[in-house]
Structure formats: C-alpha cells, structure tokens
C-alpha cells in the first residue's frame, strides 16, 4: 500500500495500525455474527428471512469509517453489515431476528427492517430501490436545515434498475444534496445475474455521471481501497454539499435469502464462488497486516476469539430469553 493512499494523519505507522485493526475488527464482527446466524438458524428461534452479507464486509467497513455519529445511513434487505459497521448493538440485532421486543425494531421488523436512530438508521425498507429515495430525502432534510451531515445510502446493483435510482440521483444532482450512494455491485440480484438484467457495457458509474453525479468504481473486497475513496469523497460531500456515487465491486457468498451456501444452483458455478472466496476481504486485509508486521498471527487469532466469544454469548442470551417466551404485538390503527 502506498503512502499516498493514507494521507491526513494515518500515514503514521501507529495510527495506520490502529486504523487497520479497527477495520479488521469491524469486518470480523460482521463475518462472525453472520456465521453464527447461519449456524443457529436450524434451531428455529431466529424466525425471519435473512440476507447475509458475508463476502461484502469491506464495503460497509470501509465506508462507515469516515461517517460521523450524526451522519445518516440508509440500508436495505441486506442490512446486517451496515448496521454492525455503524456500531449497532449485535445483541439487539440478534433479538430482532428472534422477534423479541428488545430487538432494534421492537421485534416487529425482523432482519429486513432495521431501525437504529442512534446510528443514523431511520428505518429500513426491503422494497428494492425505495431506500434510495428515503436516503435522498434525508439528504434534502440535512440541506434544508443547513447542517453538514452526510446521508449515505447502501444499494445493490439490482436497485440501480429501479426508477427510484434515476429519479433520486437526478434530484440529488439538481439540488446538490449531501448524499453518498454506495452501490454494492455483487453482480447478483436474487438468482439473477447482471448479464441477464443489463446489456453488456452498461456502466453504473456512467449512469450516475450522466445524471450529474460524480462517481468512482472501487474494489469492494479491499477495505483499504474502499476507505481511501470514502475518506476523500465524504469530505467532499461535507464541504461542497454534492451527491457522489461509489460503485464497490464485490460478491455475495451465501444464498440470496438464506442462511446457507447455495452450491450447485444454476445461476452460478462453484468455481465462481471459489474464485471470489480467494479474494476474501478479511483474508486480504489480514494477510497484508501480518505481512507488514502490523499484526501477528497470534494477535489475529486472539481478536477472532474475542469476537467469537462475544457473539456466542449474545446468541446464548437470546436463546434463553426466547425460550421463556417473548410477546410482541403491533398496535392496530383505528378506523
């Protein structure tokens, strides 16, 4: 990694190492939390559909690095990574999946409807593309209040096919809204590959540019690349109040809406999955850190163990409470 990549204070080895350690921990938290989710799923107490983020951790971890507490994040159906990278309480997320009142959405939303205003997540829609408008509107609100917060929106490649994408980017560009669009291009939308949804050569960044929104494509499996782009761009959005799009190219390892892997299905080959696993974002960073002696193998294992213990404890707690029954009821609206 070149010096150029980490300017402004993190060029110092001590800061850089803290910085990378934090990114590593965030990615590991997401990974280990979701692996545990997958493992516990057959027990039946996590009673909602889950869209796992495994394989894409570098995007959330890289972007959220440069967001401040008062900034806003709009997530989507694949929300766990964004929530955890924003510092969201994993216990509340697990509780939410178990349908408990102590869940971040009071047990009413499940995995697809995360609510964490303390992390700037003001509610989550699982309707593909709709969050793009919500986050853009948060940007409008920020602008109208003359604040200098940023509204970051995570969206998939599939979401760029919805009208919301074009309409929202057009408006954000017109009104110069402080919005960061983070398109996580995993080339998949459910069991559909991007080649069957877009003519070849269509470029998401170019679409954004044609609407007057600047854009950049980054390696979404390299947290340092994502963070580097995020640092400059978020600063620019904050200073100039303008929208920006980052396309992070990455890949989802697990089934679309499934706690499990989906080897042997028609839309992708095992070979493709294996190739992407070689580009594992966590392995990439960990290798870099060990090779540059920022971290030892022992320390890496120790960090993994600490997080694993934390996650195990969370799910144990949930299991116990869940057994002793949790009731949630939604108020009905009068008519």
């Amino acid at each position: 990694m070149s010096q150029k990549k980490f300017k402004k204070g993190i060029t110092l080895m001590v800061n850089k190492s803290t910085f990378l350690r934090e990114r590593l921990k965030t990615m590991l938290r997401i990974r280990i939390f979701e692996e545990k989710t997958s493992l516990e799923y057959p027990s039946g107490y996590l009673k909602c559909p889950v869209h796992l983020y495994i394989g894409q951790e570098a995007v959330a971890a890289g972007i959220c690095t440069y967001l401040e507490t008062a900034d806003y994040v709009t997530t989507n159906h694949r929300s766990h990574g964004h929530y955890i990278a924003r510092g969201g309480d994993m216990l509340k997320l697990a509780a939410e999946m178990a349908g408990m009142e102590s869940g971040c959405t009071g047990g009413i939303g499940g995995s697809q409807h995360i609510y964490a205003p303390e992390s700037g997540i003001m509610g989550t829609s699982a309707i593909v593309g709709s969050g793009i408008s919500i986050g853009t509107g948060i940007g409008l609100g920020i602008k109208m209040k003359k604040q200098n917060h940023v509204s970051a929106i995570f969206l998939g490649d599939g979401a760029t096919e919805e009208g919301y994408f074009y309409e929202s980017l057009n408006f954000a560009s017109l009104k110069k809204l402080p919005v960061l669009y983070v398109c996580e291009n995993n080339s998949l939308a459910t069991q559909s590959r991007i080649e069957s949804r877009r003519a070849s050569g269509v470029d998401i960044c170019k679409i954004a540019e044609s609407l007057g929104v600047q854009s950049i494509r980054v390696d979404g499996n390299n947290v340092m690349d994502v963070a580097e782009a995020a640092e400059t761009i978020i600063q620019k959005i904050r200073n100039e109040s303008c929208p920006y799009l980052i396309e992070a190219v990455t890949y989802r390892w697990m089934g679309h809406v499934s706690p499990y892997e989906d080897y042997g299905v028609r839309y992708r080959t095992q070979h493709e999955i294996e190739e992407w696993k070689k580009k594992c974002p966590i392995k990439k960073l960990a290798d870099y850190m060990t090779q540059s002696s920022i971290i030892s193998n022992e320390e890496y294992d120790f960090i993994c163990k600490l997080i694993k213990d934390e996650v195990d404890e969370i799910f144990e707690k949930i299991k116990k409470v869940e057994k002793s029954s949790a009731k949630v009821s939604a108020p009905s609206t009068p008519y």
Binding site: S125, L140, M144, E167, S168
Partner: protein, 335 residues
C-alpha cells in the same frame, strides 16, 4: 373572526398559517410555485416563503414522495401536492410500501408526518384518466388516514390537522369545490379525524356522502322534501378513520340508509359502511342500504357521456324515492 372565503382560499390559508407557525412545514409538488398556484391553493406562497420551502419538482412523483418521506424522518412535515389525484398512482410504492408502513417497520418508534393532497378533476371533459377519485385504494392500507373535505371550513381544518399529525394523511380535494364559498374562522384550528357531520336533520331516511356529491345530496333532499320525505344528510368527511357513531345514531332513528359515493361501484366507502351498518343494525333497518356509486366504467369527454356517468340531484332523488316506495319486511332477530 369568521368570514366567507372559497375552498381554495381556505387551503391556502391553512398552508400559510402552517408555514408561518411551523418552520418544519414545507410544500412540495409539481407546479406548487406556478403563478396561478394550483388554482389558487398555493398562490403567493413561493413569493412569500421562497424556493427552499416551496419546492417545484421533476416529474418523478414516486421517488419524490419517498424523498419527502426521508425529510420527514429528520424532522420535516412535507405537504406533497398532486395537481391531479390521478398521478398519485405513480407513487403507490412510496406511499404504501413505505410511508404507510414506516411506523410499523420501525417498531412504532418513528413517526411519519407526511401529507399528500390529491385533487379530483371531475368535469369539463377531463375524460378517462383525469377525473378519477380512487380514494378506496388509499384507505385500504392500515397506517394511513384519508379525509375528503367538502366545505371551505373543513378544507382548512382538515389540512391543518393532517399536517400536524404524526402519521401519513391523504387529503382528497375536489376541483369542482374550489370556487365554493363558506364560513371559515381566520384563526388557526384543526378538525378531528374520524368525525362526520350532520348537514341537515331528518327523520325518514339517512343519506350519507362525501366530498362533491354532498351538493347533489342536499339538493336531492330538497326534492324529496317536496314529496313529503324528510332526509337526514350526513357529511362523512373523514374516510379513514370513518365515523360509525354518527351513522348508527342516524340510521337507528330513520331505519333507512343511503350512501352516495364519488367512485366506482365495487370496494368503496358506500359498500364498506353499508355492510357495517347492516351488521350492527341488522334488525332495526327497514330495508337493505342503497348504494349510489359511479358505474363500472370510465367517463368520456363528451357532455353526454359525463351526464350519463355522474349522478345528479334529480337522479339521486328519483332513485331514493323509488327505493323507499318498495314495501319491505323488517328483519327478525336471529334466534
């Protein structure tokens, strides 16, 4: 002080007072800044409050509805206007997959103050796509309030209540009522949701209706009076929540219920309320309720096709007279 102003002036006055008293209220929609100001209902607001609070928009109703909702999540109270209600079908996803459900999707922890104004453009050859009043589509969804002001007094009080509500409200306005005058207090006030109003006392038959049809119902009740029939005319005013109490009380007295609607025959307020009154007053009512609705077809532009399509005071009075003329056996209580 109370004085006579028009329906559109009442809307304008409500909006002005809301914007003066509440910095978080803003107006958004196609043409809100036009020189004629949506037939007077937003006239002068652009000049008074500027382009930060009176936002003309690109022709992107769906995303802009989502964007307005996003701003509501950070403290704003948007009033989203539609020159014609017909265009609201473009925003069905934003309105009902998102806005209507936002409170539920956040575990009822996040409010969604969002007002949409939809104008029914009946008359003068508006033809197939520009003369609809499909409010039942909106009223179907839990989590949304729907009101249909008839008088200028209601136009002001209900819009004010809508904008100050913590949940989404859709206001159905009738273009044909815009120039009608009525007494309106100068002061700021709100009207309650879920409350109807007796426009005329009577003892033989209850005739309920909403919005523009009430003019015809009042004239029809005059015609019926000439025939010796005393009709009680009820303005339903609030579609959802609806006022069952006022209907039950009136029908308990008259034993006969007619409901006149402003939309097509199936799945509307007339069907809903006649069913409910039937359920509650099964043994008291003298005959099954009469529903007066628009035919299951689309209106054409020509004078003749409009005349055939819409009801008139004469046709309403005639139908009610014939209906009352048929002898009916009172139903027996079920053993």
């Amino acid at each position: 002080m109370t004085r006579e102003i028009t329906y559109s002036e009442a809307i304008l006055e409500a909006t002005t007072q809301l914007m003066e008293g509440h910095p978080e209220v803003y107006l958004i929609g196609e043409g809100v800044d036009d020189f004629n100001g949506l037939w007077g209902s937003t006239k002068g607001l652009y000049e008074k409050f500027g382009d930060q609070r009176v936002l003309d928009i690109p022709i992107s109703e769906n995303a802009l509805t989502g964007i307005a909702a996003g701003s509501a999540l950070v403290g704003f109270r948007p009033i989203f206007t539609h020159q014609r209600i017909d265009f609201m079908l473009m925003c069905m996803d934003a309105l009902f997959n998102n806005i209507a459900k936002w409170q539920a999707m956040t575990g009822y922890k996040q409010n969604m103050p969002f007002t949409a104004r939809g104008i029914v453009g009946r008359g003068w050859g508006q033809s197939v796509q520009h003369a609809q009043s499909f409010y039942p589509v909106f009223a179907h969804f839990p989590g949304v309030k729907v009101v249909a002001p008839y008088s200028p007094y209601e136009a002001k009080g209900l819009l004010t209540a809508a904008v100050l509500a913590e949940e989404p409200v859709i206001v159905i306005e009738a273009r044909s009522l815009y120039s009608k005058k009525g007494c309106v207090p100068e002061d700021f006030y709100t009207l309650d949701f879920g409350k109807g109003e007796i426009l005329r006392d009577g003892s033989d038959v209850t005739i309920a209706g909403l919005s523009y049809i009430l003019e015809d119902l009042l004239s029809a009740s005059d015609l019926l009076k000439d025939k010796g029939i005393s009709a009680e005319v009820i303005n339903l005013r609030s579609i959802k929540p609806f006022d069952m109490d006022i209907l039950i009380e009136s029908v308990s007295k008259t034993g006969n219920l007619v409901i006149a609607d402003i939309t097509w025959d199936c799945f509307n307020l007339a069907s809903e309320l006649s069913c409910r009154v039937n359920e509650q007053l099964f043994t008291e009512i003298k005959r099954p309720p009469l529903r007066l609705t628009l035919p299951e077809m689309y209106v054409g532009a020509s004078r003749e096709s409009e005349e055939n399509y819409y009801m008139s005071a004469e046709s309403i009075a005639k139908k009610i007279f014939c209906w009352l003329d048929q002898p009916m056996q009172k139903r027996q209580a079920l053993q």
